[in-house]
């Protein structure tokens, strides 16, 4: 499964980069996240309870950063094990590009799911990803004192391109994820990383 996304963040690239390294805020913002700890400069572990379709499980995830090139980007890879529910693993190249006072974050993620997650939940993964991303943005927004719907147009669009291998078909979904959820520049850094972790740890 391949997913790509692009986010326009109204913050300087350095601020976004910095925000992508604070586990505490991430933990509060990722839906179902019970713990998220930085074990080294390049490694994090997380425990996330998630429900995808009929499969509900606690995923123990391990995330590694490599090809680190501050503040331009890195490669993030990881896997989440959900016991009998199956597993998810994958990686993503993350790029931060300056655009005036704003930052454009893009990622290209490649991920696999296995076990019951694949057998029973594969059809739900895309919609679950969108739902959890929305939830994540709302949490971030609230964390910085904002409320949903306060501002518009910050996140112009996020395009999830998903190859639905099960039906050997490609669908392009325009996902207006998080439209209007805003807390401040730094939140978008967390949001971006949060989506990546969600993608890798849990969803796809």
């Amino acid at each position: 499964m391949d997913m790509t996304g692009e986010y326009r963040i109204p913050a300087r690239r350095e601020d976004v980069w910095e925000a992508m390294n604070d586990p505490e805020v991430l933990k509060k913002s990722i839906p179902g996240c019970q713990s998220l700890e930085k074990v080294s400069d390049t490694e994090m572990t997380a425990k996330v309870v998630s429900k995808i379709g009929p499969v509900k499980a606690t995923f123990n995830g391990h995330v590694t950063l490599s090809d680190i090139d501050p503040p331009k980007g890195y490669h993030i890879s990881g896997e989440g094990k959900g016991g009998v529910a199956g597993f998810a693993k994958g990686g993503a190249d993350v790029h931060l590009a300056e655009d005036g006072a704003e930052t454009v974050l893009t990622y290209e993620a490649k991920a696999q799911v296995g076990g019951k997650l694949a057998q029973l939940g594969s059809r739900m993964i895309d919609s679950t990803a969108k739902k959890m991303a929305d939830e994540f943005f709302a949490n971030i927004s609230e964390h910085f004192g904002g409320t949903p719907g306060e501002e518009e147009g910050v996140l112009e669009h996020a395009v999830h391109e998903m190859e639905d291998v099960a039906r050997d078909a490609e669908e392009k979904l325009e996902v207006a994820a998080g439209r209007g959820y805003l807390g401040g520049p730094i939140a978008w850094g967390f949001a971006a990383l949060g989506v990546l972790i969600l993608v890798i740890l849990i969803l796809s």
Partner: protein
């Protein structure tokens, strides 16, 4: 035709218990002290097992025992085998990789059994199985057969370099190449036959019981062929000696081939019963059925058909890659070879045919025979390319077929099969008349006025049933003979028990077989009991598959009935002081022809058992057995026509009408035959439009492992079928029967796709033709 004899629409005797919920299936069986098994299965398509930790599981409530593959091997339980030897064209035997019932080192498909937990309840067993921690070292996986053949592909078995099981051929390659080179027209296509999941209504199940008092084993299991299961489990898997093993297959709720094979679970249940000292039952849940029931089809073929200037077929060249999954299932090797390529002549005179088949390992569920087994794949290849050729040549598809029909019988094809009888023109005309083929242009115009695209498609199939002449299949590599047995026990009161080695899993044997007795002796079908599915009751038999229960199973019954009739007539002649040649049996009476002297059937039977007054030297009793080995396959054939309407805005296809005109030879019960055809058509239309088993190409994960993602046909997907039969008598068996169990699934997929491609004006469309695929094909065309 009597009211219950051959040709009568007798209601199915077995349906009373089925429709009132009183069928008795394997999961209905309970024995004292019975415990339950749950299997630990691989979540990975390809991985090495590095450790198995059952410490938590073994202490959980109700857990009786935990067993793994090392213990299984230690107890000498043998690997699963494929029982049909195929040699590659270079003469080398097929490359079969080892398949242990429980994997201890390497797993090669998602769902492969690794270990088993036995506990007091099913829930306890499943909870404990979930608590077993298996660590894996993941390996690269490959899910599709074409990729598995490429250099650098992940390798599954050391026994099969390059993942190649065999590279087999049939026919005259140089004759085919010469004919193609000099042809007036050559049609070329790549044709994919999609992988299917069998989805029998009753999931697989097993209850294994070891009795230490007699050192005897009993297994209740969902089997289409309990005797074969006993033979294979004793002779090859060393689970139990054959004379100490009883295999019982009670009511079986559908199989479609998937219940022919002996799977790891029934082996493990029996073995675990001895190991743990308790009876062990396992019943698959639906996910396990998706993951572990042998799948069907999965071919990719390059096909070329050559024509001369007069549109006569001159050659057919087929190059097929067949996906076998991770292991060779029991009869897997025969499906894309002798059950497939030997049918590639279809209903046509094709002077030169060559077919090459590469059988390939992949990290997917094993593939084996599924309703039609090879013949649907052959029919799809042939009937799609014939239809496409007609379009390219600008001739009517009916005329192109008609021009090339075989018209003289027996007909020796270039690919082993010798057709004994048929009349393809008659089926074609019957189907075209029933479908109002000539009125299609008007209907298409009318649909066009509503913005819809109408199409009509045809398929003229042939298949080989009545599997099979033992000597012939033996020479082709079969590990067993494919005769059938029967025993007719006439009781002293005149009622009859038929013991047959075939075994119904939905086909209505209890009714059809009883009708045969009614036809012979005039006894009510209620006075006839069919006994099957139990190795302790029935003499050896080969089971039910390949539409063989009528043509082979009933032929054995006929032979046994002949013996019974002969003896009954001798007794009656003796008692009536008449010549044996003057005795006739009809309507339950035994008469001297042309006189009023007669005895009741029951009087003759009682005399056989009282033995007070039998002819000199005659043994008492009235019970006879017979074995019947067919002399040839039978060749059901027919013509199917499908008419569809496609909504170009959504790609949604509606079947407007589906016509089936089949030649099944002699028909015993037309109602049951129609039911078989209806079921087969639903399955074939399901394959054509709805069902597609899909693996993630890289990870080998099964992405369609539930009914959320795998679409089964429903009633509202189907039109009201227009089913009829034509008849040419099969000369090869005493009843003239051909077999009807698979025809619907064989003939229908190409008819559907030919109709849809006719509607949307392209030849490029793969099954299942979902609305999305059809929509994309419309927009690509």
């Amino acid at each position: 035709m009597g009211v219950e004899g051959i040709g009568a629409r007798v209601l199915r005797k077995e349906d009373k218990r089925f429709i009132t919920g009183r069928g008795r299936y394997t999961d209905d069986m309970t024995v004292p002290g019975m415990c339950h098994a749950a299997f630990v299965r691989s979540p990975h398509a390809h991985a090495k097992i590095t450790s198995i930790d059952a410490s938590v599981a073994e202490g959980m409530p109700g857990v009786i025992g935990f067993l793994n593959g090392q213990q299984l091997q230690g107890d000498g339980i043998g690997n699963l085998i494929c029982g049909w030897m195929i040699h590659s064209k270079d003469g080398s035997p097929m490359n079969m990789g080892a398949w242990p019932a429980l994997a201890s080192e390497t797993v090669r498909y998602v769902g492969q059994a690794i270990a088993v937990v036995v506990a007091e309840t099913r829930a306890q067993a499943r909870d404990a199985a979930d608590a077993i921690v298996v660590e894996f070292e993941e390996l690269d996986a490959v899910a599709d057969a074409v990729s598995a053949l490429k250099d650098g592909a992940p390798q599954l078995h050391p026994e099969a370099p390059g993942n190649l099981i065999y590279d087999w051929e049939i026919g005259d390659s140089s004759a085919v190449d010469a004919a193609i080179a000099s042809a007036a027209h050559v049609t070329k296509m790549e044709i994919v036959n999609n992988r299917l999941v069998p989805n029998a209504m009753e999931p697989r199940a097993a209850l294994g019981v070891y009795d230490p008092a007699d050192e005897h084993y009993t297994v209740w299991t969902t089997s289409q062929n309990p005797h074969v299961a006993r033979l294979v489990m004793s002779a090859f898997y060393n689970v139990a000696p054959e004379h100490k093993l009883r295999v019982i297959a009670p009511d079986v709720g559908g199989g479609f081939g998937s219940k022919i094979y002996i799977y790891p679970e029934e082996i493990v249940c029996l073995w675990a019963s001895k190991r743990t000292g308790v009876p062990v039952k396992w019943v698959a849940d639906r996910t396990e059925a998706f993951l572990t029931d042998a799948h069907g089809r999965d071919h990719v073929s390059h096909v070329e058909m050559a024509f001369d200037a007069d549109n006569r077929m001159t050659a057919l060249k087929v190059d097929t890659v067949a996906n076998f999954g991770a292991y060779m299932s029991l009869f897997s090797s025969s499906v894309p070879t002798y059950l497939y390529a030997t049918l590639l002549s279809g209903q046509y005179v094709i002077p030169a045919i060559h077919c090459n088949v590469k059988a390939v390992y992949t990290n997917t569920t094993p593939v084996d025979a599924y309703r039609g087994a090879g013949r649907p794949e052959a029919t799809y290849v042939l009937e799609r390319i014939v239809e496409t050729a007609a379009r390219e040549l600008g001739v009517s598809p009916a005329e192109l077929r008609r021009k090339n029909f075989i018209r003289e019988f027996p007909y020796q094809t270039p690919v082993i099969m010798a057709y004994d009888a048929g009349d393809y023109e008659v089926s074609l005309e019957a189907a075209m008349a029933a479908a109002d083929w000539n009125g299609f242009a008007d209907r298409r115009a009318e649909a066009e006025s509503r913005g819809k695209k109408r199409g009509i498609g045809m398929s003229c199939y042939i298949e080989a049933c009545g599997i099979a002449p033992s000597q012939a299949v033996g020479s082709l590599g079969a590990g067993v003979g494919l005769w059938e047995s029967a025993e007719v026990r006439v009781n002293p009161v005149g009622t009859v028990e038929i013991l047959t080695g075939s075994h119904s899993h939905g086909q209505g044997h209890e009714t059809t077989f009883a009708q045969l007795v009614n036809e012979r002796f005039g006894l009510p079908v209620d006075n006839v009991q069919i006994v099957h599915g139990d190795t302790d009751k029935v003499q050896f038999g080969m089971g039910t598959y390949g539409s063989r229960s009528g043509a082979v199973g009933m032929s054995a019954i006929v032979k046994a009935l002949d013996k019974v009739e002969s003896k009954a007539k001798k007794i009656a002649a003796h008692l009536l002081e008449a010549s044996e040649g003057d005795i006739v049996i009809e309507n339950g009476e035994v008469k001297v022809a042309g006189t009023d002297r007669k005895l009741g059937w029951h009087e003759v039977c009682l005399a056989a058992y009282t033995a007070h007054n039998l002819p000199d030297g005659m043994e008492p009793g009235l019970k006879e057995g017979a074995f019947y080995d067919p002399t040839n396959f039978t060749f059901p054939a027919g013509c199917y026509i499908c008419e569809v309407e496609v909504d170009p805005d959504t790609g949604k296809t509606q079947i407007i009408q589906f016509v089936a005109a089949d030649d099944f030879g002699k028909i015993i019960n037309p109602m049951i035959v129609e039911g078989q055809v209806h079921g087969g058509l639903a399955q074939g239309i399901g394959q054509a439009m709805l069902e597609g088993c899909s693996y993630d190409k890289e990870s080998g994960q099964l992405m369609t492992a539930s009914y959320m993602d795998y679409t089964m046909p429903r009633a509202d997907d189907m039109p009201s079928f227009n089913v009829s039969t034509t008849e040419t008598i099969c000369p090869g068996n005493p009843l003239g029967m051909k077999g009807c169990g698979e025809a619907g699934a064989i003939g229908s997929p190409p008819a559907v796709i030919n109709a849809i491609t006719d509607a949307i004006g392209t030849n490029d469309l793969n099954m299942p033709a979902t609305p999305e695929k059809v929509w994309r094909a419309i927009h690509a065309a």
